[in-house]
Amino acid sequence: MAVVELKEVTFSYNDEPALKNLSFKVEQGDFLGVVGPNGSGKSTLLKIIEGILTPDEGQSLVRGKAVKEYARRLLARELALVPQSFSLDFDFTAREVVEMGRYARKGLEGSRFGIDELLDKLEISALADRPFPQLSGGEKQMVVLAQALAQEPGVLLLDEPAAHLDVSYQLRLFDWLKRLNDEGLTIVCVLHDLNLALLYFDRMLMLSDGRLFASGPTEEVLSPVIIEAVYGVRAYTHRHAGRTFLTFSPRTRPTRKEKVHLVCGGGTGSYLMRELVDLGYSVSAGVINAMDTDEVTGRELGLAIAAEAPFTPITDEAHEENLALIRGADLVILTEVPLGSGNIRNVSAFAEAARLGKKVRALERVEELDFTGEAAGLLAGIEGLRYLRDAGHVLTELEETGEWES
């Protein structure tokens, strides 16, 4: 039996619909995140679950029984909530605040409960005798978490618990949630930070405009396609240092027709790739070795890339591919990529672009990045670049990416 279940719940604030025919189940032991834009109904959802709000239609069930049929005291033994923020202007000590969480279990047989052990466990024993109003925001939130845990609930609901916390408390809080979940506590957490969601949660619900837009494993729900559909921003998935994370770009600028090709590598093109994509250009790049930072970034951004195998000098095949991309481009940019024997052919590709009459730009420090040594054949490439520059084909300033258009 699901510990929490919403069945076709519809709810309106006055005439403003907040939830529309929403159904889902939370199973024992779930570690479930709920995301969605502002006003998508996340907080309303929690209030429906805990019976603070009553649905206009449909049902909210806890362990198979309608929430409205629970006495508040009995419901408080099943569910506990950690709110976004919490105000109490009276001089109760942190311990007294935590003890208030025992209200629903007061006078029960076998209700011995160690407040001290709980404070110890959450590493907030030092706060026990301090007046609650004097604690910092992060400390308060840990005390409120303790208050909720003192209810010994089966399900812990959290409403953007980390919204006002610094990064240290954010991570500490979510680490605790993870541990508590490992110990068997079912957790449903509304949150805004999609990267925190990716980092911690197994399963996600995505709400949009009061409806359930998607649900399932976190990495599937937080895909760029879904995020773009729900939030209206461009989202990109990155893998870095063994973790998946998201970056976002506003989708406020119009899509442009012009195509830009980057001759780059070694991470020198990543910034430009992102900027140009955000500006609405279609971007390609080459030749870059696979697994090179620029290659990874380009792939994550979905660019067309002429790629070469790792640590391999540019082959004819890759070079041709690069030239094909260049021929399709309106502007070709040579970044400050270090030049060595492996990638010197990129310079001739760049020269070819100039010869084809493409607009070309090279970033300023290109000459200092000559790692070709004295090999005469390779030097020709660099010489060619110098020639192009001196002949006025290549401008070495590219301060603003949009500037070339005019």
Partner: protein, 332 residues
């Protein structure tokens, strides 16, 4: 650390207030137009009433009921204030914001206006006015099973204005009886006897009720929604406590008039001494309120002897500066 803990537990504060209460009780019995020694007070207490002896008669027929009435009314107003401040989460709340006092005032003024005999009409009409207002304000604030605290406050304050306008009209029309009405409105224990004490005794059992809700009152300081989440049946608690606070206020006002500032200041003073925990706060407020009311009445009797001033003037006179001090302290 130990002494700090002791202070926080409030053992010292409670003992001090209890001593203060006992002292106020005996002092109020002893002093007055006819002074008695403490020895005499103790003697009369144990002897019971001895007919024919003037001082004994004064003690049992005049002073004892008056002091008991002051103690009960003081306790009632302080407790009602403490409960309502907790319920409304508003430090500026006093028992009179419920509007029941002005309802009682209207009832009392009507009895003066129609020159009805004070016993039983004055108290009867005052109680009826108080409870009538209580029910009216309550029904305004209750919507779909939820008691809206803000509507309760605003409804109460609005009714107060309305009733005082009516009282003023009656006062202007009543002409020469104005003095009696004003005296009553300002609050006084002058001339009250055992009849009023008997009416006020109804308050005593009601004073126990909030002690069953101290945990709930503490939790409600975190807001109604949080209280629901922690398992409190908020509506039931609000209904019971609002009714009790308003009822004891209505009864207190009906026997003593409108005595200001006790219900506002005493809970604050007690919070200062013992902290916000209602488990201790309610207890302390009752004894502090009783003692301060008895002393205020004592001052009302002796300050300008042989004439008396309304006790409500004494409480305002001391209460107002103290409250301003509290406000300053809070913002500092």
């Amino acid at each position: 650390m130990r002494s700090k803990k002791l202070a926080r537990n409030g053992t010292i504060a409670v003992m001090a207030v209890m001593l203060f209460f006992v002292a106020a009780f005996f002092l109020s019995l002893a002093l007055g137009p006819a002074d008695m020694s403490l020895g005499q007070v103790v003697k009369y207490l144990f002897q019971g009433r001895v007919s024919g002896e003037v001082n004994s008669t004064i003690f049992w027929q005049i002073r004892m009921p008056r002091v008991l009435l002051a103690l009960i009314v003081g306790a009632a107003l302080a407790l009602a204030g403490a409960v309502l401040q907790g319920l409304f989460l508003n430090p500026l709340t006093d028992p009179y914001v419920t509007g029941v006092s002005s309802g009682a005032a209207l009832g009392a003024t009507l009895s003066f206006f129609f020159k009805l005999p004070a016993i039983p009409w004055l108290s009867l009409l005052a109680v009826a006015g108080g409870f009538g207002t209580l029910i009216f304000v309550y029904s305004i604030a209750k919507r779909r099973g939820v008691l809206n605290i803000y509507q309760l406050l605003l409804g109460g304050v609005t009714m107060s204005y309305l009733f005082f306008a009516l009282v003023s009209v009656l006062m202007i029309k009543s002409g020469r009886d104005l003095h009696a009405v004003v005296y009553w409105l300002l609050g006084s224990f002058s001339g009250r006897g055992w009849t009023e004490v008997k009416i006020a005794l109804v308050i005593i059992p009601l004073l126990f009720v909030p002690f069953f809700f101290t945990d709930e009152l503490n939790i409600l300081l975190q807001g109604e929604e949080r209280a629901l989440e922690l398992g409190v049946e908020v509506e039931r608690v609000k209904n019971v406590l609002f009714f009790v606070a308003a009822a004891v206020t209505a009864i207190a006002v009906s026997v003593s008039g409108i005595i200001g500032f006790v219900g506002l200041v005493v809970p604050h003073l007690c919070r200062l001494l013992i902290g916000p925990d209602h488990r201790k706060l309610l207890f302390l407020s009752i004894f502090m309120g009783a003692a301060l009311m008895a002393l205020s009445d004592l001052l009302a009797r002796v300050a300008f002897a042989p004439s008396e001033i309304p006790v409500g003037i004494v409480t305002i006179f001391f209460g107002a500066p103290f409250f301003i001090y509290l406000l300053r302290r809070r913002t500092a």
